[in-house]
């Protein structure tokens, strides 16, 4: 039986959040810093730098660090872990959150290059980070890995995106079974109310408020989940005694699945 943990033990832990520059990633970084975790905010854009500045200002101490590396590039990921190791011993908490949606076309119209680009961010990036985070977690007999996943039942989702998100299920289960001191957890999210989703609607020429209303109507809850709610769920997993959820990926889609 795995050991459970106390909230206090998170203080001073080190987290890496991929895709931490906005939306869910940003909210999770802020949540982690608020419970005493040092946060490495990874992203390829400068937005992550702003998140780091915000956190450090809010916490009035250096709790966050910007690590600008492309996680689809394995050499870059190795460099990122070297940088983290040079400042802290290693990663205790890994949030595999970064993702790109990829081209919204049918799989047979998708170039192989686009397929690879997408799956390398969505899955390879998570695999690289997980593989490099695990040795420290195992050595320290403490580790937590969270995956921002997606529902397998979704229609019209590009093949490499869904492949990447589904890959988390196997990763989570494997780690849960093989390494008794490392807990994994995934949340399969459908629509999250992020600036990115609003921007995507805008770029498709949609009226954002109407499009949001339409998305909300598809949910039995009548609304989308917010990044802050997701961050609370992740925080709960990390700080609770929720050992029975180790290795599971939970669907959180507002009941949409049951409407189809």
């Amino acid at each position: 039986m795995k050991k459970t943990m106390d909230k206090k033990t998170l203080n001073g832990k080190v987290a890496l959040v991929t895709g931490g520059g906005g939306g869910i990633g940003k909210a999770v970084c802020k949540k982690l810093a608020s419970i005493g975790v040092f946060v490495y905010v990874n992203d390829v854009s400068d937005s992550a730098k702003k998140v780091v500045e915000e956190i450090n200002k809010e916490r009035e101490s250096k709790m966050a660090y910007f690590v600008r590396y492309d996680i689809s590039d394995r050499k870059a990921v190795e460099e990122m872990f070297k940088e983290i190791k040079s400042q802290h011993n290693g990663v205790d908490i890994l949030i595999n959150n970064a993702a790109v949606y990829g081209p919204s076309c049918r799989f047979y119209e998708m170039s192989y290059n686009d397929f690879v680009k997408t799956i390398c961010v969505d899955l390879s990036g998570a695999v690289y980070c997980t593989l490099l985070a695990l040795p420290h977690m195992i050595q320290n007999k403490w580790g937590r890995i969270i995956f921002t996943a997606a529902p397998m039942s979704s229609s019209g989702i590009p093949a490499p995106y869904l492949a990447g998100k589904a890959g988390f299920i196997g990763l989570a289960k494997y780690i849960s079974k093989k390494f008794k001191d490392v807990y994994t957890f995934g949340l399969a999210l459908r629509h999250v109310d992020t600036p990115l989703i609003r921007k995507a609607m805008e770029s498709r020429g949609k009226n954002v408020e109407e499009a949001i209303k339409e998305l909300n109507s598809k949910s039995l809850t009548g609304r989308m989940i917010t990044p802050e709610e997701v961050a609370e769920i992740y925080g709960y997993f990390l700080t609770s005694l929720w050992k029975s959820l180790d290795g599971t990926v939970i669907l959180a889609d507002g009941g949409i699945t049951y409407l189809r």
């Binding site: 190795e78 690289y128 195992i138 299920i169 196997g170």
Partner: protein
């Protein structure tokens, strides 16, 4: 299962030269189905059957292989994707080799994608096609095969990730292509699958037969 319905149909099999692939060929022939084989370069079988080779990650070779077999047969009815099971790689905690992941992703996940991508135009043109994704149970169980053993310490994390990725990819593909009369479903097998050969053959027959073309992206788990 009625073999009459399947007799004379043409089937491409990706991944023939391993015990599972060879069994599938034997079974297809028994059912009166004509197999055309696609294998990774250097892994050709010595069978006297139409055969093409591909290079992982090279889309042109996949297109050429599928087009050549299609030209030879006149029409392709089925595609069975069956990966090379001996290629799974162990994960050593003191040597977390990231290149191993790239290798298994390219050979397994990408190859399945490229097979689907290159055969889809043929199926769409005919408004007919049935696809079987053979996969392992590792994505569900978290028990990577790792050199042929069911559960060993530090077994293949790569297999678990790739296996569940294939399930996700299959789900997406199945939903995109079912409106065109093409069914895509799967079979997930355990490491010591040779004990389940009869059941695997039955599952293949079921998906190819058309009895369940109303199913979309479903997986029969055999264990």
């Amino acid at each position: 299962m009625e073999s009459i319905e399947l007799k004379g149909k043409k089937c491409i099999l990706f991944g023939a030269n391993d015990p599972l692939g060879m069994n599938i060929i034997k079974h297809l022939l028994e059912m009166g189905i004509e197999p055309g084989l696609i294998d990774i370069d250097g892994k050709e079988t010595n069978l006297d059957l139409p055969q093409e080779t591909v290079i992982p990650g090279d889309e042109k070779t996949f297109k050429r292989a599928v087009d050549n077999l299609s030209a030879k047969f006149g029409k392709i009815d089925f595609l069975i994707l069956s990966y090379y099971f001996e290629d799974k790689l162990k994960f050593f905690i003191d040597d977390p080799n990231l290149e191993k992941w790239d290798l298994i992703r390219e050979r397994w996940v990408d190859s399945y994608f490229l097979c689907m991508k290159t055969i889809a135009p043929h199926f769409i043109k005919n408004r007919f096609g049935r696809v079987v994704f053979l996969n392992t149970l590792a994505g569900y169980t978290g028990e990577g095969e790792g050199e042929g053993e069911l559960i060993i310490e530090n077994s293949s994390i790569y297999e678990c990730a790739a296996s569940s990725a294939i399930t996700g990819m299959m789900t997406s593909i199945a939903r995109q292509i079912i409106p065109m009369g093409i069914s895509v479903n799967g079979i997930a097998i355990r490491p010591n699958y040779m004990e389940d050969i009869e059941r695997i053959n039955d599952a293949i027959d079921l998906w190819l037969s058309g009895v369940l073309t109303y199913s979309c992206g479903q997986i029969i788990r055999i264990y």
